[in-house]
Amino acid sequence: MPTVSFTPALQRFLSVPATQVEGMTVGEALAAVFASRPALRGYVLDDQGTVRRHVAVYVNGEPVHDRIRMSDPVGLHDEIYVFQALSGG
């Protein structure tokens, strides 16, 4: 099962430990996390369900290609990391 981890910056607002979830794509894996932590969804996705402009989602150290439908495939040993997109400063 892929592992989903979240930036410590989110821990200020809600408890989000790294978890292993079912999912064949980034979107499915995130949806599985949100199912058990509904309050987290709005921190990562906007009202239309796409990744917030200033949130970054990486798989094994590379940014995902599809930020809208999050269709990037993930395997059993992949690591998804969700963090704030820094823009300098």
Binding site: V44, D46, Q48
Partner: protein
């Protein structure tokens, strides 16, 4: 006398209280997070809207026991797939104003990108006002402050009838409903927009209403700080006449209406849009007590040398008595008056840039 003030800033929410005759900061919450709106409701509940740079808009509520918890934030419905003409996003930018709805548990939230939301359960859940959002004219609403998103900056509830509401929009004039939001009309006449092409300057929808304020005891009296001047309406926002006596300038963002005296209001003039700083580096408040025929320029206790404080639209407040006022600036200046603006004092604090000040009901 009111003795408690909530100050929403770029870096947190501060509570300022009157202690032994002096105002001082007594609490700080959400340190580091931008606060975009705050409401202290008459039941003792406090609402704070956060505008998190990375993680979106959030809403927190403090209950009577002073415990904070996150509650639901307004969200837009799924955008129809065939709708490609809407220039505005169907996603919450930020909550710009929260007002009590005049009915137990009811709140109204004005937001960017121009959605008006209602809660009937104290913020546990929200619903978009569909009638306003789906008006074809809404797509002609223009952005605010150089951004692309319009914003609802003022929500005025008639204290006699909670179904009778006016909203001010940057940039789209004044809108009215008399059926609790089932239908809306663009009502403002008499304003002008110098920045528009000549043939469009009187267009109601082109008016950049920076802020509206309503006299609680005389709800037909509404004041407006507009991009191009200050205006007053005697028919609840339908027709407006300009108050050309305003000094030292006619540009500004904030306005506060006396809760009982229909002829008294306060403004915070600044040099107009290209600069947005006080005139001559002096922070002043302009007060009228004769319905705008004349203004007194009040400066006692306010900085009068090299002061470049701008006061945003939600950063001027008056309490229910009409005697206590608070003024917050982009430089973190916070001043409080207990004599209707004649003189001001500053709590001992150097605050972050202030977006909003709000008194707790006495």
């Amino acid at each position: 006398m009111v003795d408690r003030l909530h100050v929403g800033t770029r870096k947190g929410l501060f509570e300022v209280a009157r202690c032994n005759g002096a105002w001082e900061v007594t609490d700080a919450q959400f340190l580091g997070d931008p606060v975009s709106a705050v409401l202290a409701d008459s039941d003792g509940t406090v609402y704070a809207a956060l505008d998190l740079g990375h993680f979106g808009a959030k809403l927190w509520r403090r209950d009577w026991a002073r415990a904070w918890s996150e509650v639901a934030v307004p969200t837009f419905p799924a955008k129809p797939g065939d709708d490609r003409d809407d220039p505005h996003p169907w996603s919450l930018g930020k909550i710009w104003v929260i007002e009590p709805g005049g009915v137990a548990g009811r709140l109204w939230a004005g937001t960017m990108p121009g959605g008006l939301f209602r809660s009937d359960d104290g913020g546990e859940s929200w619903s978009l006002n569909d009638a306003l959002w789906h008006m074809p004219e809404r797509r002609r609403w223009a952005g605010v402050a150089g951004g692309e998103q319009p914003g609802i900056n003022s929500v005025l509830i008639d204290p006699r009838n909670p179904s009778d509401i006016r909203i001010g929009v940057s940039t789209a004039g004044v809108w009215a409903t008399t059926d609790a939001g089932a239908s809306w009309r663009l009502i403002n006449r008499g304003m002008y927009a110098e920045y528009m092409p000549p043939e469009l300057r009187a267009e109601p929808i082109a008016q950049d209403v920076h802020r509206l304020a309503r006299c609680a005891a005389h709800p037909e009296i509404v004041w407006c700080q507009h991009h191009n001047g200050v205006f007053r309406s005697e028919d609840a926002g339908a027709t407006w006449h300009e108050l050309t006596a305003i000094r030292p300038s006619k540009f500004g963002f904030a306005v506060a209406a006396h809760p009982r005296d229909p002829d008294t209001a306060w403004f915070v003039p600044a040099i107009k849009d290209e600069r947005r700083i006080p005139v001559d580096g002096r922070v002043v408040v302009a007060r009228t007590r004769d319905a705008g025929r004349s203004f007194a320029v009040l400066s006692k206790g306010l900085p009068q040398r090299h002061a470049y404080d701008l006061v945003w639209r939600h950063a001027l407040a008056v309490d229910d008595s009409g005697e206590v006022l608070a003024l917050g600036s982009t430089s973190g200046g916070l001043w409080i008056s207990e004599d209707g603006g004649d003189s001001w004092t500053m709590p001992e604090a150097r605050l972050p840039p202030i977006a909003t000040v709000r008194f707790a009901p006495a």
